[in-house]
Symmetry: C2
Subunit: 409 residues, 2 copies
């Protein structure tokens, strides 16, 4: 990929994604094979005035060794200095930039239960710091190809060609063309989101009913006056940022404990480095009570049973079947992309910003109003070419929101 275009992407990540502010700290999470892109982002962050930038490097190969050799007890510990680091983050509120590049199936074979339990234990230790950061700082998730991920998406190509092709696909989806101004393109994209969100929020639906010929038949209830959100968001520090690049979704958090029926997945899901394929989940009183999967059923089961909240929903997201990412016809095996090619829902933690008046609420108050709490938040895809979503207003009026997989409003 030519360096000029990569630089445009780095600039977009810093200015539109995380919208790094003068004097702010920046933390970049990246895999060790992304040095070139990380250096470009680091330089852009300093150019806009970042006070400091820290890269938290990781290696999936080394992670696999930790998981295989350390005891569950050791893996579940968090050294005191790491807790101090989270504390610093909760106090200083740095902008966070996550670069996804790992092999979606790169931790295949690792003991799921051990990984699940130890990850949950460590998340629990820092939960109070993460809760304290909720909505208060900017963060963004972007992507860059590793060799292994590229080969997964384009198995017929050589490593180098697959990587080039995946770069091309990523840059297309984030609107970084050879000759355009991506920052202007995102301003336009965000304006479109705002209009759609306004319409949906004003309907104030009581519930949504999902149906598809694949077996999906599912009703979920919404929180009164819930906000629909899409594109950029404004953190409580007043800074407008884009948490996901790309993004094509409009979403809200549903009322905890009120959902009935079955959702059938329409794309594979990579969770903690392992793939779950062709699965369905049945809900009763909002809770996942039954599930099955052709591949990765144990991964799915451990995920759903992480904690009390991981069996409940935290997000409903609407994405047209004809979205640009969907139309590219590429299965990315990476939620950041696949979720933006398909209607999806998430198990686990919800978003307090889906509540009217969230700015003045603590996280605890938000959960009392029906936002789900959990250590996890995992999207999975349920969009299809014949998906219908009907909204029912609080006055009982039926409104077709999606028809044949696309917007009907």
């Amino acid at each position: 990929m030519d360096k000029k275009r990569l630089k445009k992407y780095a600039e977009l990540t810093v200015k539109v994604g995380a919208n790094v502010q003068k004097g702010q700290g920046v933390i970049i999470n990246a895999s060790v094979d992304q040095e070139e892109f990380v250096a470009l982002i680091t330089e852009e962050a300093y150019r806009v005035g970042a006070k400091w930038v820290e890269v938290q490097w990781s290696s999936q190969n080394v992670t696999r060794l930790h998981q295989n050799y350390q005891t569950l007890e050791q893996l579940s510990k968090m050294p005191h200095w790491q807790e101090e680091k989270h504390k610093m983050m909760a106090e200083e509120l740095p902008a966070m930039i996550h670069i996804l590049s790992d092999d979606p199936d790169g931790l295949n074979g690792v003991d799921q239960e051990k990984m699940q339990k130890s990850n949950a234990a460590r998340r629990k230790i820092v939960k109070k710091y993460r809760d304290a950061m909720e909505n208060r700082h900017q963060w963004t998730i972007v992507a860059a190809p590793s060799k292994a991920w590229a080969k997964k998406v384009f198995p017929g190509l050589t490593c180098a060609k697959a990587k080039d092709q995946l770069w091309e696909a990523i840059l297309q989806t984030v609107r970084v063309d050879k000759s355009n101004d991506p920052i202007e393109a995102w301003a336009e994209h965000n304006r479109n989101f705002q209009e759609k969100c306004k319409v949906l929020t004003e309907y104030d639906f009581d519930r949504l009913h999902y149906t598809s010929s694949n077996g999906t038949d599912f009703t979920v209830w919404l929180i009164p006056h819930a906000r629909w959100i899409g594109g950029g968001e404004t953190a409580l520090n007043g800074v407008y940022y884009n948490p996901n690049m790309p993004t094509e979704e409009i979403f809200t958090s549903p009322m905890k404990g009120k959902a009935e029926g079955k959702l059938v997945s329409t794309k594979p899901l990579s969770y903690q480095g392992q793939l779950i394929e062709d699965f369905s989940i049945t809900f009763e009183a909002g809770k996942a009570v039954e599930w099955e999967a052709r591949k990765g059923e144990d991964v799915l089961g451990h995920m759903i049973q992480t904690d009390e909240g991981s069996a409940y929903l935290g997000e409903l997201a609407l994405v047209p079947y004809d979205s640009p990412i969907s139309n590219a016809g590429i299965l990315f095996y990476e939620t950041l992309f696949d979720e933006n090619a398909s209607c999806h829902v998430a198990l686990g933690r919800g978003f307090s910003m889906a509540l009217d008046g969230f700015e003045a609420m603590t996280w605890e108050e938000a959960t009392n109003k029906g936002i789900n709490d959990s250590l996890i938040h995992v999207d999975f895809m349920i969009g299809s070419g014949d998906l219908s979503v009907d909204g029912y207003t609080r006055e009982g009026k039926k409104v077709t929101v999606f028809h044949n997989g696309n917007w009907a409003l």
Copy 2:
């Protein structure tokens, strides 16, 4: 480089270099381009029973950006969580494995004074923790080629060939052949060191006099009953380890404040990512009072003036001109190798283990006996084909230690 030989090197690093103990923690310092070798070392460490392994990744490209864009004030700070990490290390005493691979000239052009001052400020913050770790845990420095380093050593070769060639050279110097048992080879190597160290220590020289046709004419006084050390060492936890791989040197720490004359460098020195070439340093009353260099004179000057102790010597090391590394005829531009091809001395911090009875001393007691203290320890090479080193015993007897660059004992 074939994976089998790399695995032998990783095993040697863990078992003979750091000699990682069952139940011990391990910290690996490595550049992001060394994932393959790091993963091999990590697995070996777990195999011998490491409780945990942590990799502290770095990138010279990102370091350059920090140095160029952060203020001196910001660079000089150490976040509280990092100090907590050093505290943990001083308490838990993990084995440390440092993998050198950076471009020896990779930070060329960076503001020397700023880098020097900020590094010194951060080292000062954690000095008490590092002092507390002195002699109490195992550590080892090994090497692996990066593209940039390999091209510096073999500028006429393609990147891939230069890297292969440098791997070959490194593996030769650390005695990892295709068919040998490197662990047995190191046991033999260490036995030879022990014999030589015994002889030198028993002479209990009052002073050494260095002369060479290149202009070196230098006398340095030794601490009474000083120990000469070489090859493996035993940490105070009782574990025998090899701090440097390769190593061909026998060394001690001189008496602070007692050295007169001029030392002329015989190899380039890479310091903080910048090269210093063709330089000389003149000492009076043990202190560097004059210096000049054809290249990197300001780097040299800033280094010598880091703190009070950085103008005094911390090490004298004897290496025959005909050492295996020297005979390989390769200029590595990397002190770990070049110091083992040449007699050298170090400016800065000395070794308390050079003192008779060091096991029962604090660091402060060691400095009171004449061991130099500083935030830095930087070796530079002074060995040549006609270097003579004469020892004078406390009874006034002259003993030729080195003649024409080689052992004369």
